[in-house]
Chain length 211, copies 3
Amino acid sequence: MTGTQVVLALDQLGTVTFALNGAMTASRRVRLDIVGVLALGVITAIGGGLIRDVLLGATPPAALEHWYYLAAAGAGAAAAWVIARPPRALHRVIVVLDAIGLSVFCVTGAHKAIELGLQPAPAILLGAITAVGGGTLRDVLVGDVPSVLTSELYAIPALAGATVAVLAGTSNAAAPAAVVGAVLCFAIRMVGVHFDLNAPARDPHAAPTEE
Amino acid sequence: MTGTQVVLALDQLGTVTFALNGAMTASRRVRLDIVGVLALGVITAIGGGLIRDVLLGATPPAALEHWYYLAAAGAGAAAAWVIARPPRALHRVIVVLDAIGLSVFCVTGAHKAIELGLQPAPAILLGAITAVGGGTLRDVLVGDVPSVLTSELYAIPALAGATVAVLAGTSNAAAPAAVVGAVLCFAIRMVGVHFDLNAPARDPHAAPTEE
Amino acid sequence: MTGTQVVLALDQLGTVTFALNGAMTASRRVRLDIVGVLALGVITAIGGGLIRDVLLGATPPAALEHWYYLAAAGAGAAAAWVIARPPRALHRVIVVLDAIGLSVFCVTGAHKAIELGLQPAPAILLGAITAVGGGTLRDVLVGDVPSVLTSELYAIPALAGATVAVLAGTSNAAAPAAVVGAVLCFAIRMVGVHFDLNAPARDPHAAPTEE
């Protein structure tokens, strides 16, 4: 397997996992029919990449051009419908798989942005958007404030991974930089999950509420 | 009238109807000013096509390039503002007109996706997105979970119509395939409305709710 | 300073202000962590321009191509995080700065749409979308119905300013038309704020609520 094949394989793994996790998360929040479960799973999986590709003008987006993205996303979402009530033991597996998806997407997203000519800062941003965009769309569609905006270390590891991929990747070392970026993202995310870390927050009730 | 003219006329009819129905639906949910009523009517009518064209890279989108889309959408939304309280008898008419819009948009959306080089599976998806995308944007803007994700047969007839248009349309028979697809979509939708059919659903309270 | 430099300077001032105001408004509504405050500030500031550029096919969008947009937006959002509890006296300043942002964005947005070949009506619409799009995205992300759809004179001054810029700007007088449009937008907005004017509205409880 070449490096590109490894990335592509990880990308598909991330897509399946995001779809599975996204469909399950959405199903726990509101009553959805089968269309809703499948749609939200697929949107969680490919939504971040769609936003990235639309912003880059790379249309039609990769997820609509290559059959395996929709197949992977559809398979993950369908599995969520079939499983319905995941056993408790599966939760930990899902969290790990989701972190893998996050790590792969922030790096591949940033890499694509650089390839299409963006400067480092917006490329890092697009890497993070690729990683968190699908879950954000899902949360908005089920009527929640996106969890990425309120709690946990979720965007921060994605930004860290994308930063390594972009800054180290401008040299000749795109492939190792991508691996280091993804591993860093995964490590920060799992440390955050394990110790239940949150980014500093502002409570609206502590601020004057008149407008 | 040629076939293209018939499609264009139906497209305008669908646009007017979606705007009328969209503005009325939004007005029943939350308090809106005239800007809100007009904006939500227009977004319901042209939102699905905007999403399709942006994803296809067909910019500027048709709805912003040809004056008659904005005119039709604006007229429908303005009518909703003027009517304000539709008489009960009008509801049935609106449901039928909305089903016509759904049927036309799923077929024309899929057709455009094929023309711009997409594979069958994403083209079918884009056809359905064209049909349900505007209503989804409206529901998100007024703070509701999009009804297409929760109940009724709405996305399924759009997917069925788009599938016929795409699969039968790859041969020499694009025009008759479009007609058959639209009629199939309309038939499934009206059967669903008449018998109050819903797609199978998952109740979140039946699933473990801890996360 | 040439006219273009003046416009660019005002554009940056609008970006900083929108980010500051957007981040503060979002923080008053829901509990956000630092990622959420910064993200919502940046989205408020550059979201309208992103929507405009994506619809126009002008990708990558200006806000991702020129470093100063992200820098200005990030600075405004970071200031909102640091200030946290704005003193009462600052509120009036923020309202004025926000009105400046609205006035600049509606004119520059409409101008770009005309330059890229759109007809007057969609160009006016895109001008208004540039001005109100960022705040709309912010409101949707924090789970509110966008205030632009429900109350106050906010979209109407933007539409008025864009209309002047487009209609007067088709002649040789793009620069003065832009100034007059922006001043008109600012004047209507400040009159609306001062007298607490609202666009006419429809109360959903006055209409039949069955569906």
